[in-house]
Subunit: 206 residues, 2 copies
């Protein structure tokens, strides 16, 4: 089991390391140095070594990292060696776009159920295998399938109530597209996808 | 002028402070403590005080912060006291959804031009005031309007080339929705919006 004391900021970098390693593997590269990894990712080699040291000893001094091995290790650490079924709430323009992302269709995070409180959207088919359902049926659907991950793509005004509903249904990780800070129990992980906040932090530098 | 030595991680938190202050103002709250701000945002009061101290002296010991004043100061620091015109590249499902976000329609970051390399999409009207144009006309449109901010909503395979095109046109800040790390000159700010990397970092904790 991975140690649980790595800072969240480090955990958040691991998916990018994993992706860089996947790309290296596609190029048939078998060994990679922390210099190379760092250059690809815009991170210093020292940072790469320090980040990875939270999770074990993966490289040999002067020899670098074995691509396939490190990639497998990171996949296991991030639990990316399995699929996670996802529930989507919100079938507006954004929710519809997300439902068609390859990763949310047949990738690691398949959206297997979608809910909306707008009756006009009910029974609409977002994908061949995905029909919009009333929010009332959410709890049953989530419990039946043991889903733990949710995506929130509803307006800000509805987000807190819907999020509480997801948590009541057993959801433990929420990707939140609503431009609002959710207030939820501590055991629930929430990450906001907020393009406005990101743009506002970038214009600081312009 | 704000000092430029605040860590980026601090700059990235400021938009959330600004939003919390806006919500406080809507509730007619005139003074806020670092405890309150911290509680709303899930940040320690000490962190709030330290973050703000990079930019000046905004509060008085034991008296807290004046909501309107601090909000105005943060708006000025983040250059959120003006609108920034934005160019969007990619008129697929995601680009179309983004074009309808209120903030990208009549908010602080109006999308004023949209480009796509798919001839089937050209001349399609994404909004009443927004028609999809061929990528070939991008440079002229960006120069004519002096746009400095771009949003990239194209597939991974096209992203690097399109991003270089944007930079050649004078774009200095890119919000990147393509699941790829862009390699661009140092003066260009890039932030990735990557739901998969975020989800992968959350499943670590499940």
């Amino acid at each position: 089991m991975p140690p649980k004391d790595a800072p969240d900021i480090v955990v958040r970098r691991l998916p990018y390391y994993m992706r860089a390693l996947a790309q290296a593997a596609e190029r048939d590269q078998t060994v990679v140095s922390s210099q190379e990894l760092g250059a690809w990712l815009g991170v210093s080699p020292a940072q790469i070594r320090k980040d990875l040291s939270y999770f074990g000893e993966f490289g040999k001094q002067g020899l670098g990292y074995e691509v396939a091995y490190l990639r497998d290790q990171l996949r296991a650490i991030l639990r990316a060696d399995r699929d996670w079924q996802v529930v989507l709430v919100g079938a507006g323009a954004l929710g519809t776009a997300l439902a068609h992302y390859p990763v949310f269709t047949y990738g690691q995070f398949p959206i297997v159920a979608v809910f909306d409180n707008d009756p006009a959207k009910h029974d609409r088919r977002l994908r061949e295998d995905l029909v919009v359902q009333p929010v009332a049926g959410m709890e049953q659907a989530i419990c039946d399938r043991g889903i733990r991950v949710g995506i929130l793509a509803v307006p800000a005004g509805a987000a807190q109530e819907v999020a509480e509903g997801l948590v009541a249904c057993g959801i433990e990780a929420i990707l939140n597209y609503a431009p609002i800070r959710l207030s939820l129990p501590e055991h629930v992980r929430v990450q906001d996808i907020d393009p406005v906040a990101v743009l506002q932090s970038m214009t600081y530098y312009l």
